[in-house]
């Protein structure tokens, strides 16, 4: 095996461990709940985007319908808890499992589609699910589900004021999503995906195995996103169809990876760390004019970064350290 590649992987792991350790200490110094809230969201989007990146970045199947899995996770957890009293920890696993199964069931016909046909299929499938939930009275329809908060409880994973439990959960989820990606990079799936990307003809010879590896990627990606959705339901303690399954979530999940560097290990983290605080702070302190200035800034940023840095912000870091993508 390429030693340079192995070296890089070891270094990535060490850097990640250090970053996680530093992140874990931050709340000890930052007590402000508003800032803590932004940190929770940043970690959550890093985790979501990292999971999205597995299917859309590494595997090259661009999904703009991941809100489906996010919503499934949120709804499964909230419904199991409010209707049957099932603790959210089990709901989380159930939501993840359901999403993984659905992702594979949908992947089977969809992976035959290419390019924009695939992208549009993912959008319309998520839209169908949104419309069905919006018309499903038992699941609260448009009224959504209000999760009653009765004091702090680890068992029910709800905390009236403290953000710390949510923070550490989001941090753990981001770490897991990162580790899964790290592990996949070096797995045989990772090699196949790279091979297919570099040389489309190789896809032919690898045909069947690559197809199953994509199914696997879809399942892993959906599972992690659904856990993120479950977390979000607990964190906000109210969900409605538009706010967990709307198209904007599919985009919000994709954006950190796209801006940070799609199909890279560090892209989603970097993208989330820059994008999420930026959107939150502009809304709180610049937005509110009612004149759409925040939209203009936000949109222009997306255009500028995607045009100027097609490989994402990580490419800037790559250049600085003089590191070439030799391992590829």
């Amino acid at each position: 095996m390429d030693t340079h590649f192995a070296q890089r992987r070891r270094r990535d792991l060490i850097v990640a461990a250090c970053l996680a350790a530093v992140a874990a200490l931050v709340p000890l110094f930052v007590k402000d709940v508003y800032v803590q809230n932004i940190m929770v969201l940043t970690l959550m989007y890093a985790a979501l985007s990292q999971s999205w990146n597995i299917l859309s970045g590494y595997c090259g199947q661009i999904s703009l319908g991941h809100a489906l899995y996010f919503g499934l996770g949120a709804y499964t957890t909230a419904l199991l808890f409010t209707k049957f009293g099932v603790l959210p920890w089990f709901g989380m696993l159930a939501g993840g499992a359901i999403s993984a199964v659905i992702a594979m069931a949908l992947g089977y016909p969809c992976f035959r589609l290419r390019g924009h046909y695939f992208v549009i299929a993912t959008i319309v499938i998520a839209e169908i699910a949104l419309l069905l939930i919006q018309n499903w009275d038992w699941a609260g329809a448009a009224l959504g589900i209000d999760i009653p908060v009765r004091g702090d409880s680890w068992l029910k994973f709800q905390f009236a004021r403290s953000k710390l439990p949510y923070f550490y959960f989001a941090l753990a989820l981001a770490c897991i999503a990162w580790l899964v990606t790290w592990w996949l990079e070096d797995s045989k799936w990772g090699y196949w995906w790279r091979a297919v990307k570099d040389n489309p003809d190789a896809a032919e010879s690898l045909g069947v195995v690559v197809f199953y590896s994509k199914m696997g990627a879809a399942a892993v990606s959906a599972f992690l996103v659904a856990v993120g959705g479950s977390f979000y339901a607990q964190f906000v303690s109210y969900i409605d169809p538009e706010s967990v399954m709307g198209f904007q979530f599919s985009l919000l999940m994709a954006l950190p990876a796209v801006l940070g560097g799609i199909g890279t290990l560090w892209g989603p983290v970097l993208g989330a760390v820059i994008l999420i605080p930026l959107t939150e702070l502009t809304r709180s302190f610049v937005g509110g004019s009612g004149r759409g200035v925040d939209l203009i800034v936000y949109g222009a940023l997306i255009v500028a970064i995607s045009l100027a840095l097609p490989k994402g912000l990580v490419s800037v870091f790559g250049m600085l350290s003089g590191r070439k993508e030799a391992a590829r």
């Binding site: 046909y117 004149r291 200035v293 939209l295 203009i296 949109g299 997306i302 255009v303 097609p310």
Partner: protein, 292 residues
Amino acid sequence: MTAETIIQSLASGLLMGLLYGLIAAGLALIFGLMDVVNFAHGEFLMIAMYATFFLFAFFAIDPLLAAPLVAAALFVFGAVVYLLVVRFAMRAKANAGMVQIFSTFGLAIVMRGLAQFFFTPDYRSVTNSWVGGKTISIAGIYLPEPQLIGAMLSIAAFVALYFFINRTDFGRALEATREDAGAVALVGIDKNRVFALGWGLGAALVGLAGAIMAIFFYIYPDVGASFALIAYVTVALGGFGSVFGAFAGGIIVGLVEATTAMILPPSLKSVGIYAVYLLVVFVRPRGLFGSL
């Protein structure tokens, strides 16, 4: 449900479908030309509707007269967007598909923001235009005049587009550029000029649609969002790369929508459209008439 209701539903669905076709025609043309999906297509429609509205409000130009002006304005706008944004997106060496999606998508957000900034988020409408609110009744079946005109314009636009692409020198240049940009450069065709004209033409088509839509639809910064997804599905259903496919796709979408609303609760009528799209591409992964 009476026979009359069913006929009326199908007639309305057909008119709406032809209009969807007209809205999607520009998208189909641009995609066919350079394999780029313009995710700001709905916002192009929004700009066209605002242009029609302001021509009417400030200069009392009826939307029917304004249509060619709006189309011309959108032509320029489309060409400029190509030269300022899309040209660079197509140069991307890595993640080309992603760069195209997100640069045009970012553009869409900017356009909405600018519309809110300059036009305010208020809802506008064109009132008292020549054909606005007028309707023709044949044996109890109502056919609104604006939609009828839109439908005829849609048919005319597709016929013209067919001749344009297949029978004119410029059309052939477009086709040739699409097939082999490198080779056409050798015979002295400037790729960027051809693509800019293609984008202009695509935008002009949505300009026509916008002018007609302004007669009977409300106008506000987010209005494009309602039509964007339908336009993508229309083009993909017909098959990317086929202009005729967009025409057929529009009609199918209109009819399926009307039929679904008769069977399911109307809030689910889009589900019918989406389901038909999925069914079609699962059987034919390149849409009905697609070449790509």
